[in-house]
Amino acid sequence: MTQNSTKIQVVQVSGRGINVEFIIDDVVPFDQIRKGVRDYLIENRGMWSGGAIAVNVGNRLTSRDELNELKKIIEAGSGLTVIRFSCSPETMATTPDAPDPEPIRPLQHNEVIIPDRKPTVIAQAQVIPDSTPVAPKIIEPLQAFRTPKTLPQHNEVIVPEPQIEGTLPPGMRAAPLIDRNEKPHQTVLPINEVSQAEQPPTSYPQHNEVESGPPVVEDDEQPLLMDEERATKSQQASYLQSQRDTALLVKSTCRSGEIIRHQGDVVVMGDVNPGAEVIATGDILVFGCLRGFAHAGCEGNSKATIVALSLGSPRVQIGPHVGVSSSNAAQPKHIDSGPLIAYVRRRSIHVALFEGRFFKYGKGVLYDG
């Protein structure tokens, strides 16, 4: 992001890929911004002839009303359509719209702090006025979540649907982001990424101190999934309910002393070493060896599962149920190959070969000493 590079002018234009972006100076007071943006648009009246524009407010803490005002100014002054707002990562934690303004405490070393379940922070709002027809082009930013070529900054958030959020400003409605019938893959959930590579340069000096970006709020696909699955089992429905929270992707090995807490599911692309802890309200999926402590469904969801390529954890927990590995061998002999799933059956934790998340698992191997 280049939000810090604008000091002279209030508005700077930058092109990122095919998207054009207004970068708004984040130092001068908002009143000057208002005037500056108007002046800028008048000055460059000939430059714009309609189209989509994104607005980057940099480090500024802008409220929803201010964003709306900015949007109106830009749209009135230029004929452009504002499709998106974005800001720099450190703004996220302190945006006034956040429901419970928890003071930013200094991060414990290696702790992954996950913001609250319902992210109401406007980082990248996707709002479309009533009159605007929903053109495919406008859908693009969301679809970008699924294509690697334009991975989102990890601080970007889609403003949730009204049924989730319910507080969109008057005169606007959230656009139906995805046409249900045309959606190609419905099971892909947006995933927030936490990795060394994607750490915002200005955020925190220590790379393990990752604060996961606010979870991407579900779009329309979730209710659709619900519709499909509701017919089958209520158990799955409750699981899907928990899927409303988003997944956290950890792209490195979790080493001893690191704690990953997340509201939602956690995917670790690496090992979880002894002494590390992964605690999630949803499922835990480890593409590697799970040797540390894992607690899935930590808010009491016994339907959560833990999946790992190899399970050598001395202790795992699902909801309130605790499983202890056998003291001599890391795992029972006859299930030592292939990915394993740990699940709760009759109030104790069983382990079986993984055969799909909704496979009806019977009696596995008891994970109990």
Partner: protein
């Protein structure tokens, strides 16, 4: 000249950080590099003893940092290697006597004059550790094939990465090849798989190391010691040479096997 500042650390105590520092420093100096080793274990200094320079200490690290003496006054030249210097730790002070920035400044000055600045890190992950790693640009991790040492090493790797010392290199010290052969000790592959770091070398358990330390002559001077040659190879790898890893199989000459049969198996050490 811009040298490399390397911290030698482990987390757990007693795994051989100081021995590794002394031997690596000596081995690099034997390769013709200009080396300075800094003992950052303030209050529990050992490096001078291992290198046999205890009775030459006049000024120490804290004196330099506090400006009580010049940098060169505190540098003790090694007995054997002309291009190897030691900056000893203060024994009468504690780890809080210096700040990470001060040590970093000192190391940056030393980098101008030397090819290698090796910092012997104290055990633990507290202030002394933070001082030592704050000054370094690279890290070498020493561990032994024990579960506790590896657990600590894992934690330390996390902390090193947190302070921008990515990709530390691993030395596995005190490998007992007989135990590994019988499956009673973790072998190199187990450890590397768990820690997922690049391995720099393996040092076999060797009593030459202990006798050499007691005499104050680093074991790399001992041509017969397998651990000494292991440290020479590690130094070559640090220096950028491609040195193949030696087989870890215990020596199985006929005489050794005969000795084993009659229960006389002495030192069945191997090269690593």
């Amino acid at each position: 000249m811009t040298g490399r500042t390397i911290v030698i650390t482990s987390g757990k105590g007693g795994v051989g950080k100081t021995t590794a520092t002394a031997n690596l420093g000596t081995a690099l100096a034997m390769r013709g590099q200009k080396v300075v080793v800094i003992d950052a274990d303030i209050g529990l200094r050992n490096l001078d003893v291992i290198m046999g320079l205890e009775n030459r200490i006049v000024y120490d690290l804290v004196n330099v940092i506090e400006g009580k003496c010049k940098m060169h006054q505190a540098m003790i030249r090694d007995k054997h290697q002309l291009e190897l210097f030691l900056i000893p730790a203060a024994q009468t002070r504690d780890k809080d006597s210096i700040e990470p920035e001060q040590l970093r400044e000192l190391c940056e000055k030393l980098e101008q004059e030397f090819d290698y600045v090796l910092i012997d890190c104290p055990a633990g992950i507290e202030g002394g550790f933070k001082n030592a790693i704050g000054a370094a640009k690279e890290a070498i991790l020493v561990t032994t094939p024990e579960v506790s040492a590896i657990r600590d090493a894992d934690r330390v790797i996390g902390l090193l990465e947190a302070s921008e010392l990515h990709r530390p290199k691993l030395i596995i010290n005190r490998i007992n090849t007989n135990l590994v052969k019988h499956g009673d000790m973790m072998d190199k592959d187990d450890i590397v798989e768990l820690l997922s770091v690049e391995i720099l070398g393996l040092v076999p358990a060797d009593e030459h190391t202990i006798t050499a330390a007691n005499r104050g002559v680093p074991v790399v001077h001992d041509k017969k010691a397998p651990s000494g040659s292991a440290f020479l190879r590690i130094a070559a790898r640090v220096d950028g040479d491609e040195v193949p890893f030696m087989s870890l199989e215990p020596k199985t000459s006929i005489i050794d096997r005969m000795k084993g049969l009659v229960g006389l198996s002495g030192r069945a050490y191997s090269h690593a």
